[in-house]
Amino acid sequence: MAMSRALQLSREDLLRAYRQMRTIREFEERVHAEFATGDIPGFVHLYAGEEASAVGVCMHLTDKDAIASTHRGHGHCIAKGCDVHGMMAEIYGRKSGLCAGKGGSMHIADVSKGMLGANGIVGGGAPLACGAALAAKTLKTGGVAVAFGGDGASNQGTTAESMNLATVWKLPVIFVLEDNGYAESTASGWSVGGDAIKRAEGFGIPGVRVDGHDFFAVHDAAGEAIERTRSGGGPSFLHLKLNRYYGHFEGDGQAYRRDGEVAGLRAEIDTLDRFRRRVTEAKLLEENDLAGVDREVLALIEDSVRTAKSAAAPKSADLLTDVYLSY
C-alpha cells in the first residue's frame, strides 16, 4: 500500500483526481435527487460508488486515447473530459446537450475527446474499443483504447470475441471489468461462472484484480497495464471489485440487496473518504484544499442543473437531422 506510485503523484494531479471523483459523485447524487422530482426522463443508471475506476484509469489517458463505455456511463464521460454542462443538458434532453438531446443518459458521447459513447447494449462497447485500438495502431498515433464493462457484460459473447481479437491482432486495448457485484438484480457471484482473471488469461491477456474503491490501487494497476499495452505489450485486463450506491437504474427498489448494504459501504469503504484520509494523513493535501474542490464542484453541478433546466428543448425540425450526412 505504502508503495503506491499514485501517492507520488503531483499535488496538481492529486487535486485533479479528487476533483474528477468528486464531480462524478456530486453529478450522480444530484441526478438522483432531480430524477425523483420527475424532471429527468428515461432510464438513468448512476455511477456513484465506482468513481475510482473511471478516474483511476482515465487519468492515464489523453484525447488520442479512446474509451468505450456502458449504460452506466456518466463517470466515464466526466473522467474522459466530457463537458459537465453538456452532459447534464443531455440528460435533461436539451438541444444544448452533448448529443443535442437525441441521446440522453444512455448515449452520452464526445468522440472528439475519445469518449465513444455510453452504450445501451450490454457488451456493446468492447468491439468498438478494439476498433479504436486498431485505428490507433494502424495510424500509429500511439493511442490506446479502454473497454469498460460490467460483470454482466463480462459474460456476453462480444466480450470474449473482443478479447480474442485483441490478442490475435495485438491491439493496444485495455479491458476494465467493473465488477460491482450485480447485473440488475442478479449477483455476479452467480452469473459469472469460473474466474474473470482466468478467462482473460485463457484469451491470452494478463490480468490483475484490484480493490476498486481504492483510487491509488486502481491508478497504479491501470498505469502499469496501460503502460505495458501502450508500449506494444498487447492487451491488458483489470478486474475491479467495487460497488454501486444506487439501484440498477433510478426507480429500482433494490429488494435484492441486504438491508443497510449501501449504508455500510458508504460508511466503511467509500472511495472519496478513503482518498481524503489517505492524502491528508500523508500530508499530500490539506482538508482545506479538498473542501475548496468540494465547493467548486458543488457550484459547477448546481450551475449545470440550473442551465439544463432552463435550456431549450430540440425543435421539431431536429427530429429529421443527423440520420445521414445528407440529412
Partner: protein, 342 residues
C-alpha cells in the same frame, strides 16, 4: 372476469399455461431476480415486474434467471424446444435482438424446413418494444417487420390486455416459434379480462370498430390510437372500420381485403420505421389483390426514417398518434376517388 392490466394479463397467461403443462418453462434476465444476492428472492420479477410471483409458484427449475447472454439462452430455449420442453424466453427489449438473431432466424425459424418437416420447435420469445418511454434509440424500436420478413416465425402483437392473454396462451400452445411483442407503454392499461384461460387463434383479425368510409389497420399500441382517431372522425361524419390483425405473421389478409372492398379506402398505421415495414407490406398486398376496389391512394402513418430520439418533444413528434391518423384518413377522403374522376 375482472379488470386486469396488460402486465397482469401476461402474468396470468404464463401462470395458467405453466400450471396446465409442466413442459412450459420460462427464462430470461432477472425474470425472477435476486439470484445469488443477499436480499429477497423474486426481487424483480422481470425488469417491469411482468413475471413477478411466478418463481414462487413454480420454483427455480421452471423459472430460470439467466446471465446476460441472449444468444446463449435463447439458443438454449430453441434447443430445449427440440427436445421436449416448451420454453418461453424473454428477450428483455426487442432492441437486443442484434446479439442473438442468429439463434432465432437461422436456427429456430428454419429447423422444421431444413430438417424436412421432421422437427417441431414450440418456442415463444416474449419481448418488449415500442417508443414513448424516453428510452432513446437502443430501447425503443419496434423491429417486428424484421421478424415478419423471416419465414418460419410467427409474429404476434397484442393490442390490449384481453388480447395479450388470449394470444399469449395461443403462442405457448402453438408448435411453431412465436415472437410475442409487448408494448412497454401498455403494461398499465387495464380492461376486463376473463379469469379462466382462453386462446385467441392466430391469423384472425379483429374488428375493433366497423365503418363504411375508410378501413384503418393498426397493430399493438397503434390500435387504440386508431380507435381514438375513428372516434374523432365519426364526429366529422367519417365512418371508419378499425382492424387489428393481431398477428403480423400469419396475416389475416382476407379480412382486410373484405373491408377494403367495402370501404374502398385504406389507412395503415405502423409504429415501426417506415421502410419495409408492415404498413408497406399490407399496402402492397392490397394494391395487388384489391386494386379495383380502391377509391383513393392508400395512406401510411409511420414514424420518419430516423432512430428514435431521446428528447421527449422529439419522441412525441416521432410516434404516430390519433391526430396524424385522422389527418391521413381525411386525406384519403379528399383524394379524388376513382368514381369521382370518372
Amino acid at each position: 372476469m375482472s379488470k386486469k392490466s396488460f402486465r397482469q394479463a401476461i402474468n396470468e397467461a404464463l401462470a395458467q399455461e405453466m400450471e396446465r403443462d409442466p413442459r412450459v418453462v420460462i427464462m430470461g434476465e432477472d425474470i425472477a431476480g435476486g439470484l445469488g444476492a443477499p436480499g429477497e428472492d423474486d426481487a424483480w420479477g422481470g425488469v417491469l415486474g411482468v413475471t413477478k410471483g411466478l418463481v414462487g409458484k413454480f420454483g427455480r427449475e421452471r423459472v430460470l434467471d439467466t446471465p446476460i447472454t441472449e444468444s446463449g439462452f435463447i439458443g438454449a430455449a430453441a434447443g430445449a424446444a427440440l427436445r421436449g420442453l416448451r420454453p418461453v424466453a424473454e428477450l428483455m427489449f426487442v432492441d437486443f435482438m442484434g446479439v442473438c438473431f442468429d439463434q432465432i432466424f437461422n436456427q429456430a425459424a428454419k429447423f422444421r424446413y431444413m430438417f424436412g418437416g421432421k422437427a417441431t420447435t414450440p418456442l415463444v420469445i416474449r419481448t418488449m418494444f415500442g417508443a414513448g418511454f424516453r428510452a432513446a434509440s437502443q430501447h425503443s424500436q419496434c423491429l417486428y417487420p424484421i421478424f415478419t420478413h423471416i419465414p418460419g416465425l410467427k409474429v404476434v402483437i397484442p393490442s390490449s390486455p384481453y388480447e395479450a392473454k388470449g394470444l399469449l396462451i395461443q403462442s405457448i400452445r402453438d408448435d411453431d416459434p412465436v415472437i410475442f411483442f409487448e408494448h412497454k407503454v401498455m403494461y398499465d392499461v387495464e380492461e376486463e379480462v376473463p379469469d379462466e384461460p382462453y386462446a385467441i387463434p392466430f391469423g384472425e383479425a379483429r374488428f375493433v370498430r366497423e365503418g363504411d368510409d375508410v378501413t384503418i389497420v393498426a397493430f399493438g399500441r397503434m390500435v387504440s390510437m386508431a380507435s381514438q382517431a375513428a372516434e374523432a372522425l365519426a364526429k366529422e361524419g367519417v365512418s371508419c372500420s378499425v382492424i387489428d390483425p393481431r398477428t403480423a405473421s400469419p396475416l389475416d389478409l382476407p379480412t382486410i381485403l373484405e373491408s377494403v372492398r367495402e370501404t374502398g379506402r385504406l389507412v395503415l398505421v405502423d409504429e415501426a420505421s417506415p421502410r419495409c415495414n408492415l404498413a408497406t407490406d399490407i399496402s402492397a398486398q392490397v394494391a395487388e389483390q384489391a386494386f379495383d376496389a380502391l377509391k383513393a391512394p392508400i395512406r401510411m402513418v409511420s414514424p420518419p426514417h430516423t432512430p428514435v430520439p431521446f428528447a421527449p418533444a422529439l419522441e412525441d413528434e416521432f410516434v404516430p398518434n390519433a391526430e396524424k391518423i385522422a389527418a391521413a384518413v381525411r386525406s384519403t377522403m379528399r383524394a379524388p376517388s376513382k368514381q369521382a374522376a370518372e
